[in-house]
Amino acid sequence: MYKTGGNNVKKPELLCTAANLDELVKVIEAGADAVSIGHERYGLRVAGNFEVEEIRKATEAAHARGAKVYVSVNALFHNDDLEGLPEYLKTLEEIGVDAIVFGDTAVVMIARQIGLKVPLHWNAEVLTTNYETMNYWGRKGATRAFVARELNMDAIVEIKENAEVEIQVQVHGITCIFHSRRDLVTNYEKFMGQEPKPASMDRKLFITEEKRDDLQYPIFEDRNGTHIMSAEDICILEYLDELMDAEIDSFKIEGIMKDTDYNVKVVSAYRRAIDAYAEGPEAFLNNIGNLMEEIRAIQPSHRELTTGFFFKEQVY
């Protein structure tokens, strides 16, 4: 790809998840322009649960530091879950959060019904795979779409070229690869006659598959069901220049299942990589090796850093 860099390049937003107020402040201080938070009552696989009052404090803390706050409301809602949802959205608007992230169309309907003014970001994870669908949600009120992690670089560039909404790409961290409404860990424990314990993220459960038993796929349950996560962490740091040339609007670092120290260091490395490429291609090339080393130094040994599907071919 033709490298521009330097003054011509637009700096993308750097977004990171936060599990609590402390992490939120620290990742912002490390260079995040925006943070993503939520509560599992409304959002999928949030890093930690923020009650409404904590969202208020988080928003104040972020805004005081010039950063934005996005709240995940991207669960799959059943009829009963709709109760209280309009009030929740209104409260988020009143708090002044900068965007609401949705996956279920019910949020679009309710936003319409209550005249919500907060921008909506579409994130149905694996379902966001083409620009026409992203533009469709744009016409329905979304200002941004989050690209599925199963796409390659060419597809992402093509999406950005044709998108009428902002495009967000995950550049680092774990991804969800399976979501069931059932309690699959609990069911297994019961099947084996064990007393089931809550299979929360804290239990650090994982599964392995026969043919690749060196790969550990984390698995956990919450009120939204069972989630299986990738065995590897995406790390696109070395290719950030390509994504910046493509003018991707937002880079997301997924910080769930990692501690604050790790997330702060990762945010800091991506911050410096973005700033370096904005300075020029040479600055980027001169720094990227060291920045990669910084990430490798803190990467858990059993979780390989990969480029995910960015350079992978898939068949069907």
């Binding site: 799959l76 809602f77 059943h78 009829n79 879950d81 709709l82 279920d104 169309t105 019910a106 679009v108 309907m109 309710i110 994870e125 694996v126 379902l127 795979t129 083409n130 026409e132 669908t133 469709y136 949600w137 199963e150 796409l151 597809a155 093509e158 999406i159 690869i177 399976f178 979501h179 069931s180 409404r181 059932r182 309690d183 699959l184 860990v185 609990t186 069911n187 297994y188 019961k190 099947f191 084996m192 650090k204 459960l205 994982f206 599964i207 392995t208 598959e209 026969e210 038993d213 550990q216 069901g225 299986i228 990738s230 858990p300 040994s301 599907f309 992978k312 898939q314 068949v315 069907y316």
Partner: protein
């Protein structure tokens, strides 16, 4: 039980509820022959796949010419044909959509089943008369979302398999739209569409038809315990297996859905279409399963108050099943009882052994087309769209030249068989697998 008034054989009325329309029995068909048998065995509608945009990349799938033949046949029998175009599209899939949809319209297809809004938008432009059904792949689980799609011009929503009977009732209360529900067959254990295990394990894109059913594979589960005194000195934390040597491994395999025993609940909840899964399933499966739902729905609408599940129907269903059965989410979140662990179940399996082409009332001899080997002395069963199933032993049989034979080993060979009871063209003969 609520008092129900029969208005006609297609409409009934409950005292407090609305008029209930007779629901459609919707069957899968992997090819033209299966489609014809699905219709003959009672399907009001059949869904199929085309050469692209569907989720069964490895199925036979229909060419546009075959679709034309399919709609001609189905329409002549008062049935409809839907095409599953329910991939989650990537950029490069979009270019073919307009032509594809125009071809479907020309082939007389009654509706498409679609999950990706990009395909909905393109179809509205390219084939404006095409009826749109929202696929279960869109994971629709609440009435607000159903209302949204209604306003977008979708005439029917296939609900997520995670929705309960009570939730369907509530959705119907809020939104006047056709609701289709999977009542029978294999199912995703994840929210449909929200799984990329195949992409990760086999580089096959599940949401474009490449699903390798990784959920049903065997896994080991471990718990990473906090580091304790005795483990210090080792690198990292010590994972503890969640299982013992003799325990079955962790897996995510659901039993198959079967709502045949609970059809009155589904009818009274207002489900408009009963969908049977299985575009990859055999002709024997499709005919058998479709026919039991046909019989049950007809029996209910003929006399709702006296309706009782006929155990014979369930027995037939079991003969076509490869897994044990569950009611999924219809009555609450499934438990470990609704999953399969360990070795495959040992269920009696039946082969489709022969198709009745003709029956001579005088000689009581049927002409069969062989579909699986059978021999003199075998116990076989005959069943058909309307006849009562019966069992008999093969006593005498002849080949095309009327020579007496003891066995029919050749695929599609014509065989004449002495019958205990009359049969008709399109009836089937099955035999237990040994």
């Amino acid at each position: 039980m609520t008092e129900i008034n029969v208005i006609s054989d297609k409409k009934i009325m409950t005292p407090r509820g609305p008029v209930l329309q007779k629901p459609e029995v919707l069957a899968p068909a992997g090819n033209l022959e299966k489609l014809k048998f699905a219709v003959r065995y009672g399907a009001d509608a059949v869904y199929i796949g085309g050469q692209s945009l569907g989720l069964r990349a490895n199925a036979d799938n229909f060419s546009f010419d075959e679709m034309k033949e399919a709609t001609d046949f189905a329409h002549a029998h008062g049935s409809k044909v839907f095409v599953a175009t329910n991939i989650i599209a990537h950029n490069e899939d979009l270019y073919q959509v307009d032509d594809f949809m125009r071809s479907l319209q020309r082939a007389g297809i009654d509706a498409i089943i679609v999950a990706d809004p990009a395909l909905i938008e393109r179809t509205k432009q390219a084939a404006p008369d095409m009826e749109l059904h929202l696929s279960t792949q869109a994971s629709t689980t609440n009435w607000q979302t159903v209302q949204f799609w209604k306003e977008e011009g979708v005439s029917r929503v296939v609900l997520a398999r995670e929705v309960s009977v009570q939730e369907i009732r509530d959705i119907k209360k809020h939104v006047d739209i056709e609701i289709e529900a999977f009542v029978h067959g294999a199912m995703c254990i994840s929210y449909s569409g929200r799984c990329v295990l195949s992409n990760h394990f086999t580089a096959r894109d599940s949401n474009r038809g490449g699903c390798s059913q990784s959920c049903r594979w065997q896994y080991d589960m471990f718990e990473e315990l906090p580091q304790e005194e005795e483990t210090i000195g080792q690198i990292g934390k010590t994972p503890l297996p969640m299982f013992n040597e003799q325990d079955p491994q962790f897996t995510m395999s659901s039993k198959d859905m079967c709502m045949l025993g609970f059809l009155p609940d589904m009818i009274q909840a207002g489900v408009d279409s009963f969908k049977i899964e299985g575009r990859m399933k055999s002709i024997h499966y499709v005919a058998t399963v479709t026919n039991q739902y046909r019989r049950a729905v007809d029996a209910y609408f003929a006399n709702p108050e006296q309706y009782k599940l006929n155990p014979e129907w369930m027995e037939e269903i079991r003969k076509a099943s490869h897994r044990s059965l569950t009611t999924g989410f219809f009555y609450g979140t499934p438990t470990e009882q609704d999953q399969l662990y360990g070795e495959n179940e040992d269920m009696p399996q039946y082969d489709f052994a022969g198709l009745v082409l003709d029956y001579d009332v005088e000689t009581r001899i049927a002409t069969l087309q062989q579909r699986n080997k059978f021999s003199v002395g075998d116990t076989v069963e005959f069943f058909g769209p309307t006849m009562e199933r019966f069992e008999q032993t093969v006593t005498e049989m002849w080949n095309e030249k009327d020579e007496s034979i003891t066995s029919a080993p050749h695929a599609m060979q014509m065989v004449k068989v002495r019958m205990d009871r009359p049969v008709s063209k399109h009836d089937m003969m099955r035999k237990e697998k040994k």
